[in-house]
Point group: D3
Chain length 255, copies 6
């Protein structure tokens, strides 16, 4: 018998759904859904790199995460209206970029920058891990297109990458916590892993109650299962090849 409100087993993911091509102008895109959490992920590439890479022949990848105002039960104000960055969004943007860079061969890009945009349509827990997994799906689609169009000639992706969150509650561990569980758990850990099971990023916080290393170990085991479940799902949902409506990718702005 499950202890979870939605009847899931403690090591069970919420249902996954991936809809490719939600943006007609992005080079790769998807709507990534985990239960009621829904994130719009888009990938584009543009000429140019940040100053510290100019002249190196190497590319860059950057990510931006934001909540759409109506993604939460109580409307979230836009950052630009407040003229103030949302610190949580800054932290998550950095996480997504760092994670994806770990599986991208930046030297394959030349002096181009990959932009990943994750905009949360509906927030019900796990938006940062859904963003990473969704960004990977969109990036996979984009790399196929770039190869076809000759924009990037070498292999961009070195490995697959997906992410899950695991909660700890009274010594128990719960895979893929949703928003209602999130407010109860002692700790919330995010595992970002490759398809081959190695760790890319680990980010866990415990505002309520410190946890033991044994609990972290259990979390890792459950996270590993979640990662595998997502990878299976990714294989079952066929990657839709991008059909350019009318013209090739615009990536070579002179400005």
């Amino acid at each position: 018998m499950s202890l979870r409100r939605d009847g899931r087993a403690s090591n069970q993911m919420r249902p996954l759904k991936i809809t490719y091509g939600v943006y007609g102008n992005a080079h790769g895109s998807c709507l990534f859904e985990v239960g009621n959490t829904r994130v719009l992920c888009a990938v584009m590439i543009q000429d140019g790199v940040p100053p510290f890479l100019r002249g190196t022949g190497t590319g860059w990848l950057t990510a931006e995460y934001a909540m759409l105002p109506a993604s939460t039960a109580m409307r979230t104000s836009r950052e630009i209206t407040l003229m103030k960055r949302n610190n949580r969004s800054v932290e998550i943007s950095r996480l997504i970029g760092r994670a994806l860079r770990a599986v991208v061969d930046l030297s394959a890009l030349g002096e181009k920058t990959i932009y990943i945009d994750c905009d949360v349509l509906q927030a019900d827990g796990g938006t940062r891990t859904a963003s990473i997994s969704g960004a990977y799906c969109a990036l996979r689609q984009a790399t196929q297109r770039w190869a076809v169009e000759g924009i990037v000639k070498k292999t961009v992706l070195r490995d697959s990458i997906v992410a899950v969150s695991v909660g700890a509650l009274n010594g128990q561990v719960l895979l893929d916590v949703d928003f209602s569980e999130d407010s109860q758990v002692d700790a919330d850990f995010n595992f970002v892993m490759t398809g081959s099971g190695t760790i890319i990023e680990l980010q866990g916080a415990t505002e309520k109650q410190p946890i033991s290393w044994d609990t972290v170990q259990m979390m890792h085991i459950v996270a590993r299962k979640g990662i595998d479940d997502i990878l299976v799902a990714l294989d079952q949902i066929p990657l839709v090849a991008y059909t350019p409506a009318s013209q090739p990718s615009v990536c070579c702005s002179s400005k």
Copy 2:
């Protein structure tokens, strides 16, 4: 024989599509599509009004329009990343708010504020008129919910409201210009009208070539047809009653 790239008659709208309920947390929402232009529209209500209305017992309606970064062929930078408002978005946000206020009975709200959010998923011309029409659809859905939940007890909407753009090209008029046409026309006029055919807002600019009043008259006739076509479409696409997943609208924040 049509002069238009997509074969449309000069007074023919692009296909319309309305998908209700794209946001699980908004009180009313839809994805409004006109050809390849796609706008996410959300409506929420919150306690409180701007300072100039405090103590009057009257409500307010405000709107925000933004382009998602991947909505354009060349990625559009986020305003918050640049720490700079996009002036065009400011102008359109004001237009949407002004237009919708013209059909809303603000005194029926009490001291509450309706927030309308229009986020462009794909831009192919006519995003501002699509935003107004889509905002109306989402607002219609939201008012039904508010009535059921008793959040607003009086009738909110005084009339229907939709909008179309009309272009002028060498004395010809073209209904619902798309992006490729937009760069060619001499003038681009936006007509915001009620269901009963009266004018709410008229906004026309001619950076290329001034036009005669006769042309404006012709534009109005064609706009009127477009408005009627949208209203028919709205009747054909059944308004999906909002099914609250688990809880009533959250509108009464103390802060």
Copy 3:
């Protein structure tokens, strides 16, 4: 018998006054007064164009509108003090720039940018239309100077351009509404027209009450009279040739 507080006929402008040369350093300037509405208009030209025009050999024109703090009965805070753009000023700045570009031959400028600054000294209704008319006067003066100094060798202005506002109240139309009338009218339409009577921009909003197309037609007729009255006034107020105090225009900054 007039219905208007100041005894004007419904199709009568307030008195016009134009004082050229209020700025000693601008290339063209005037204080444009319509009744109690007073706007300082200045025109300057500088080397350089926005990024999207670099290398095209074509120039640009941009405008900025702002309210001086003491221009209103209740002091208006400066935007920079609030560190927040005033959205209404943004909208009007865009309108002025767009309107003036419609009568300027940008290709005649080479890669230079014309800057138009409209600063409201006293606001009593119709500041945006007064800004457009005043900007045209200042621009006319500046183009004469540029021609004399050889800064711009071709003809810059393709036509004259002036603007008026027209209000609608219970089916009646009122030319050139002042601030006290503005709060009563159902609709306020701004007509920007050329000297030859063609339409450059039309911008009308009706927050109170939608209006019929017949009313728009009547507004156009009255607007046309107002436009003619301003043009007559412009002819009667001699354009003062700019007398450079000591040195030619500075337009060729290397930065």
Copy 4:
């Protein structure tokens, strides 16, 4: 024989001109001209004080100084366009406010704030001292009006206050340096003094060449003469009583 380009004696001010009432809505205002330097000065009063004075029954005075874009030979960008305060304007705003507070009895105001706005129409050296002198003229006009309208019942001004700049060049001192002289002098000192000859503020900088105390002494003597000249001019230019166009000052906003 004078060493100065405009033939002035070393202890001679440029011609002064004061035009009262340039703003119809300000409670006191003037255009203050010293040679080619021209500053628009406005004074208004509003209910409310900064947080540190709330509940003390004491008022406040604050000042803002800005350059209009066309006030300089090379157009000055607006601070709000750059989204960046101009540090020089910040420094001068603080100076003006501090200086005027020294002659105002803040306790006479009750919890009201006097706003002084100095906007430079034309900059030709000495804008900060012209702003102080002009602000005093506008404030004098405003206090008369406030007394008549009963807005402030006690005497606001404790003394007169005017300001001059003095330059030092090779041991010589020059009263009221203009822009062309300003770039040559070794030091530029601003003296803010009361009508009775006491010092309110002294602000002198020497980026080129340190100066001796003897030179400072000479500067003071010349400054004293300039102060007297301005005071005489103020007596000769009759203070125009403010004629409210239609209604009393608006100072009691509830917000």
Copy 5:
């Protein structure tokens, strides 16, 4: 034989130094040094809490981390000069606040907010973990003072908290990586732990090379040793009781 440039064993911390009382006005403060990394840590308390806690009787703790401009070999521009938050500093500020909240009994504070300020004087790797450990030292000192002065009557700290970073390089693990090592390691993990050895926060990133779970396990063992070493050092460096120079803590601002 050590593989490290400074001759340390792979599980050896750099020398620790704690100087209490570097700020005369802070309620608790220290200069926390780990090798060449030096962080100024200050703790103050003020009345008031963020909006979401008002009326709950519970307090809050917030932290801010910044780099002093001269803390790096190449000067770091101030955020306020660029008018742009440094995203890395935002992320670290959130980490420090979250970590410290995990050992503070917020309900013991009443509606007061603890402010922690960590300003890096010299950056040589590990500034975020040094900030956490240093903030704990300063907080410990502050709580003693608050108890003496009766500002907080209950026990504030529930446990001790310190932090270390561990790097992974070719399957080896290195405790407390410095700046030169940081650019070489495959992964950099930060462990925030209590004195009793439980985990408060774990934050690890691998931009170069994903790592195995076995490596994470090894990292944990080495981190545990580092944590113990710091705790021993804390016991050896006597906590200097705060001697208020002249007056008790100012924490009860009305604003």
Copy 6:
């Protein structure tokens, strides 16, 4: 018998203390203490100059002054957190830069910029004068290093420069006023002088009570004594030669 709380004579400085080398990465640095006022001063040099100097072969010097949050009895919010410049800090930053430029031979630098950073650790009156004196000490140390490393080949400093504040109270003058005195004095004057006794900058304000020129004269005499006392102290505190930890100054960023 002294009238001062700390028993000082009216023409006596508080104790001075200078600790060189507080920043390991700055090219010159010190902690400058005057009584309880403590300022961290750092000097670095970088390639590049502001736009108005590009191509002139001449260098620049700029300064930034800020209060650390815990430097005051009531915590001072960071400017970046408020997203708003502190106007007082802007004014003082400009003063420090202007003063130091007066003794630096900018043409000796080539197109390099000297950055001076003054961060107040503890504020007890006189932070701006302490910043100037401390900046001079740090700059003196840096110039020795730059000479040794060959970064700047010519002599940078043309003279010594130190600063003191003098207060006036009921016609008496007080050298080096502290915070508690600062709130009582009628006037507070800052004298920035060279070692040879000439005036670089004079900045005096009297918000409470205008003062006579005789008082200014007395202030100058006392200031002169304070300047001499500081210069003596500077000679007694040996300038510590900078010992680069590991590598020469990094000043030649290409960006």
